[in-house]
Each structure stands twice: as C-alpha cells, then as structure tokens.
C-alpha cells in the first residue's frame, strides 16, 4: 500500500477551528499520524524518500465533500460523465461527490443505482456517493424503494431541484424514510410562485423584463418542509438556502431540536443578481441569483454555522442549451473545479476564515452523511487537499476538465489554486 508523509504544511483543522504548522502521515488509506512539528523525525526505513512530500508551507485541509453534484449518466453523457466529473472534482480539491439522481432516466431503482456505482468506481478518481430519487421518476407521486436503495448504497434521497408538490406524498415518504433513518435532501421552494421564473423579483428583474420569483418563495418552501419534519421526525437537509428571509425559519427549526441542516451554493455566496448583467445565461442558476443583501446574510449564516454546508450544485449544460434567450436558456452551472479558487474569494475578502470555510466544505457535509472524512485526526480517511490560497489564475473555461464549460467565472481573476489532491491516501491530482 502506498504511503505519503506530507511535511512542512499549514494544517487547516475545521474541527479545532485552527490553522497550524504540522505534518501528516498517510498510510493504508488513512491518516496514520498527525504531527505538530512540520518536520517530524521519522527514519527513512519507515518512510522512504520518494514517499515524502514537502508542502512548502502551503495549506493542507480535509478534502471537500460536495453534496448535490449532477453527473449526466445515464442519459446525457455528452454533458458530463463520471470520468470527467471525477477529474474535475480532483482538480478542485473535492474528494467526495454526492451525486444527484436527476438524470434521464432518474436514479430511482436499485438496479440503476448499482449500475451507476459500478460506473463511478471504475471511472472517477474520487469517492462517489449516489443519492437516489425520493419519488419514482421524480414525479412526486410515489416513494421509491428506500430500503433496497439504501442497501444498494444510496446515501440520501432527493428529487433534485424538483419540489414534491403533494404534501400527502411527501409526508408518507418522510415517515417511511424516518423509519429507516434515511436522510431526505429537498429543494425548498414554493413551486407555484417560482414556476417559469428566471430571476429574483426586484428592480433588476423588472428592468430586464425577466419573469421573476419573490425571495419569499424559498421561505415558504422551507416552512412547509419544516412543518413536515416536525410531523415525521425525518432527517432533513435543505439543499440551498439563499435568502435572508428563510434564515429565521431555519434557526427556529434548529433551536426546536429538529434534525435539520442546510446548505448553500458557492454561486450564491460569491455572485448576486446584477452579475446577470446583459442576459448572461451562464449566470442563470436555480434558485436564481439573489440581491447583495441576501448574499451578505447568507455569508453571515455560514460564518455563524446556521448554514452548515457549502456545495457547488454542479449542473453541466451544453453550449446549445445556454446559447438561447435568457428565459429559454437552461439553468445551472458547473462548479467542481472552480469551487476552491472561488471559495478563496470569501477568504481574501475577510468574509470567512479557512477553518470556517472547510467546516462548511468538508467537515459538516461529511458529518451529515456519517462519513469519517472531513477531519485531520488520526484514523480519518486520507482525503486531503493541498492548496495555495494566494496563487493567482485567470480562468479559461475551455480548460476545465468538465465536459460542459458553463461556468460563470470565465475570464475571472481568481486567487487560490489546488496543488495536490489525495483520496484514500493516494495522490489523484497534482498541479
């Protein structure tokens, strides 16, 4: 089994909330030892020279766990395959991708799920954990075979960006899920208010003449879901909370002791509605980008820990589906490879420090899914990212490893690059 001794590193420890000098010894797929000394004394017999990596005083953090990645297999492999998504993830410091079931057909049966897991493990250099559909065909009518799907390896149940409209259906699904201890990941949004909307209502959307949804639709969706959580006691994760008005509802649910967590997307943390500018469709995401006030409130919620998780909502779209008038254009953007450099914007702006960022990127999502990763402790999986938060780059979207190039950060000046990524103790990416 390969081993690595990474010396002379700045260790970002989200559990302890610290950044300190140290070294890590990776062996048998795990963190075999953590040293507080940057150059620990270990004989060459135990770790030969070729297994030693000098981090050059750069930052070593637990690998990112991204909940909500769309890989377009089966159905639309030209947009993204497990191979391309896995390469993109490795290059972005993402060591575990938790995939969405919103493929064509949806991942709603144990047979499809097993096929996907086999494909993923062959093709992707990172860990792939699939979510399965909450309802058959994501049609919002009948729950899927939660028991079989859990046995086949589903880590959570979700209908992706589709909202289950029928409260009775969702109530039954949540009740059944609770009995199995399954996690339900939902998209909090009032489906009627948000139908057809491609922007957040307000001055900008009115000026551009775009059909818009009130930010209140998110709070209404969350309120409904929390009421059902209260009725059923299910483990619940809101995929993205992006508005200030939804935050008090989330805070109340947590205070009342419900098993509720929430994520937000890196795009909603770093962009606002004005970035759409003259109908730039790469900035069309679901939910739509929000006001600057909302963005600031969501950053604050990540800082306080009210929002637990930062994700990419990686959604590959081909060129044709984006080269359309804004209303008609497909929604979503890729994010795996740009996640870390873009997250560094928040660090450089003094909005979030590194331990807080990695708490939301690595530790919390791992904890929510019951994974051992996301930590730098002895015995944790050897999933790590080595990065330089200061190294600049100008992003060229055509150099992305994803098959789809729909990033809103094309030509953006970013600061922060991944130098190396380790999965299960093995190096899967080197800059």
């Amino acid at each position: 089994m390969t081993q690595h001794l990474i010396t002379n590193a700045r260790l970002v420890d989200p559990e302890a909330g610290t950044v300190s000098d140290g070294a890590l010894w990776l062996k048998d797929g795990k963190i075999a030892e953590r040293f507080d000394a940057p150059e620990p004394e270990i004989s060459l017999d135990r770790v030969p020279q070729q297994a030693r990596i000098d981090a050059g005083h750069k930052y070593l953090a637990p690998g990112i766990v991204d909940i909500g990645v769309q890989v377009c297999e089966p159905g639309e492999r030209h947009k993204e395959s497990y191979g391309s998504a896995g390469e993109a993830a490795a290059a972005g410091g993402v060591t575990t991708i938790v995939t969405r079931p919103d493929t064509n057909p949806a991942i709603d049966s144990p047979e499809v799920l097993e096929f996907i897991r086999r494909r993923a493990n062959e093709a992707a250099p990172v860990n792939v954990l699939p979510m399965a559909a909450l309802t058959k065909g994501r049609a919002g009518a009948e729950m899927t075979e939660f028991g079989f799907l859990l046995d086949a390896g589903a880590v959570a149940f979700s209908d992706g960006l589709r909202v289950v409209r029928d409260n009775k259906v969702l109530h039954r699904a949540m009740t059944y899920a609770r009995s199995l201890g399954a996690l339900v990941v939902a998209h909090p949004q009032d489906p009627a208010l948000s139908a057809g909307a491609s922007a957040t209502s307000g001055k900008f959307a009115s000026l551009r003449g775009l059909p818009a949804v009130s930010p209140m639709a998110e709070r209404m969706g969350l309120d409904r879901d929390i009421a059902l959580v209260e009725m059923t006691g299910v483990r619940y994760h809101a995929d993205q909370i992006t508005t200030a008005r939804a935050l008090p509802a989330l805070e109340r649910a947590k205070r009342n002791g419900f098993d509720v967590t929430a994520g937000t997307s890196i795009h909603h943390l770093t962009l606002n509605e004005l970035d759409v500018s003259d109908y730039r469709t790469f900035f069309k995401v679901t939910p739509p980008l929000r006001s600057e006030d909302d963005r600031q409130s969501v950053i604050e919620a990540v800082r306080s820990g009210l929002i637990d998780v930062i994700c990419t909502m990686h959604t590959p779209q081909d060129e044709e589906s984006k080269r359309l008038p804004f209303e008609e254009a497909a929604s979503g953007s890729v994010g795996l490879e740009t996640l870390l450099p873009v997250a560094m914007r928040l660090y450089h702006a003094d909005a979030l420090d590194l331990p807080t960022l990695f708490r939301a990127l690595s530790l919390n999502p791992a904890k929510r899914l019951g994974l051992g990763s996301g930590r730098l402790t002895k015995g944790a999986p050897g999933d790590l990212v080595l990065f330089d938060p200061d190294k600049p780059l100008v992003l060229d979207r055509f150099k992305l490893r994803s098959k789809s190039k729909n990033t809103p950060f094309d030509s953006a000046r970013l600061q922060g690059r991944v130098l190396a990524t380790f999965v299960g103790g093995a190096q899967v990416y080197a800059a």
Partner: protein, 316 residues
C-alpha cells in the same frame, strides 16, 4: 449633434442628448412624410430585414414604410412560419441572415433579451422592435416626439402611465426615457399588474386612478396584454374597465389640456372608452402612428450613418 450607438436595443443605453438628436431628426422626417414626394435616398443601396418572431401588423408596417421611404431594400420575414418552427435556434437564424449581408436588422421577439443576444452575433445595425417585457425603444421615442409636439417640450411634465405595467415593454422604455428627460412620472394600475421593485425606478405609484391622474399633462394608456398573462391578474375585464379604464369622468381629474395616448392596438371598452379614443381634442393616438414612421426613419438614418463611418469588423 451626436449619436454614438451601433444598435438601437433600448432606451437604457441612450444619453439624453442622443434622444434629442433622434427627436430633432424625426421632426424633419415628419415634414418629409407630409409632402407628396416622400422618397429620400439616404438608405439607398442598403438592405433592411424585418424579423418578427411575434405577430405584429402596425410596427412591422411602420418599419417597412420607413425603410422604403428612405430608399432601402426591405424584406419582411414572418419568423413564426419559418425555420424557427423547425427547431433552428435564434443564433443560427441570425448567423444565416448575417451571411446575406443585411445592413439593418429590425427584430421583435417574445423573450426579453433575445434582441441583445442576436445583436452580439451579427455585423449589421440591429433595431429592437420589442423584446418580451424588456424594451420597445422606437415606441418610447415616438411617444416622446408626440408629447413634444403637443406640449412644446419633453421635460418637467407630469405624465401618467396607466394599466398593465408588469407585462409592458412600452411602459419600461417610456419610463426610462421620460426619467432621463426629467419628467415626473406616475404609474397607475392594480398592484397585480405592477412589477416588483418599481418604486426604485423613480416613479410614483398609484392604485387609485382618479388620484393618480390629478393634474397630469399626459395620460398614457397601455394595452391589457392578454397574451402575456397566465391568468388571474384581474378579476374581470368589466371590473378592470370600471376601475382603470379611461373615460371622460376619470380624465376630468387631469389638467384640462391633458392629452391621451395609447400605443395600440386598443381594447376599446377595456382600458379606454371608444369615444374618448376618437376625440380629436384630447386623443393624439393617430399622431402617435404618424410619428412612428418618422422616428423609425430617423433611427435607421442615424444608425446607417454610423454603419458607414465604421469599417466592417470581423464577426466575433
């Protein structure tokens, strides 16, 4: 006198002095259009293509006439019946047309921003003849010219825009233009037909029509955009007419010499009383149609001048 635009995509990018330039030139074309000999040669040799992805009779006829009077070769393409139905994308259509070397492209499209998108892909000058709920710049310019001729100025007026603001590109363009020219604007309509964040536009918003019309100089009525509604914005047309339809009684709250405008086509008995619309002492609706041809001639003339002044650049 300057006009620095390559396209006419909206009122938003225009400076006040460019608007004045456009209106001044339009004024000259009004005179030309009233002569028996209406032909000019300023667009001779140029090709104008009208692409209407949405049904239009009036605007298309107005643009066609404007181009022909200036000597351009005008082609109309009814896009609803063409390859767009066969699944061709807007950009493919634009590239195809671009290869035929038109000089002026007049585009109407049901989606906001579609004309901007198309303008990025072609070499010629693009005129927005209405895109979704976004802008309809020539309508706002012809309204401004009509007001200027009736009131002697296009600044420091009290102007009410009434009705379906939410679905109206005419309202947006007019709001932007009248705001740039420093008028006081009131928006009147039921709250369900008011776009969100409208109070940030620098207009006063009224739900009561009589209150909103008090002492205004100009009353602009908007058509109820039934085709752009997905239902349930108003309880019924008769209640709408009762509360927001312009009739002599409601108009009596405006200044005695207030003019009545409507971009057409009118829903008589829904947003405006038929007799009032035909009252030549109050209604300038026919003038608006006349000004429309002149304004479009001026816009195409100015864009063609800029087109000639710059070398044909390489398509991005």
């Amino acid at each position: 006198m300057r006009f620095d635009q390559r396209h006419l995509l909206g009122i938003e990018p225009l400076r006040p002095d460019e608007i004045t330039t456009l209106l001044d030139l339009s004024q000259r074309y009004v005179a030309l259009n009233r002569q028996q000999q209406k032909r000019s040669t300023v667009l001779a040799g140029l090709t104008q293509i009208n692409m209407f992805f949405e049904n239009s009779t009036r605007t298309q006829a107005s643009f066609e006439l404007a181009g022909k009077r200036l000597g351009a070769d005008v082609m109309n393409m009814a896009m609803e019946a063409s390859s767009i139905k066969k699944g061709e994308t807007l950009i493919d259509t634009a590239m195809t047309l671009n290869a035929m070397h038109p000089d002026l492209l007049v585009v109407r499209h049901p989606h906001s921003g579609a004309v901007d998108l198309l303008a990025q892909k072609v070499n010629c000058a693009v005129l927005n003849a209405g895109d979704g709920r976004h802008e309809h710049p020539t309508q706002a310019l012809l309204d401004a010219l009509t007001i200027r001729r009736a009131k002697g100025r296009i600044h420091r007026l009290n102007i009410a825009i009434c009705g379906d603001i939410a679905h109206s590109r005419v309202a947006r363009s007019n709001l932007l233009l009248l705001h740039k020219m420093e008028n006081r604007i009131r928006l009147i309509g039921p709250p369900t037909l008011m776009p969100a964040g409208i109070d940030a536009f620098g207009a006063e918003v009224y739900e009561d029509m009589k209150e909103g019309l008090r002492d205004v100089d100009v009353v602009m009525m908007l058509r109820l955009q039934k085709e752009r509604m997905d239902g349930g914005f108003i309880p019924s047309e008769r209640e709408y007419y009762h509360r927001y339809g312009l009739d002599a009684e409601k108009l009596s709250h405006a200044k005695p010499d207030a003019i009545v405008m409507h971009p057409g086509p009118m829903n008589r008995g829904v947003e405006i009383d038929g007799t009032l619309a035909d009252d030549i002492n109050r209604s300038v609706i026919q003038d608006q149609v006349e000004m429309g041809v002149a304004v479009r001639m001026a816009a195409m003339d100015l864009l063609a001048r800029n087109l000639r002044a710059q070398p044909k650049d390489v398509l991005a």
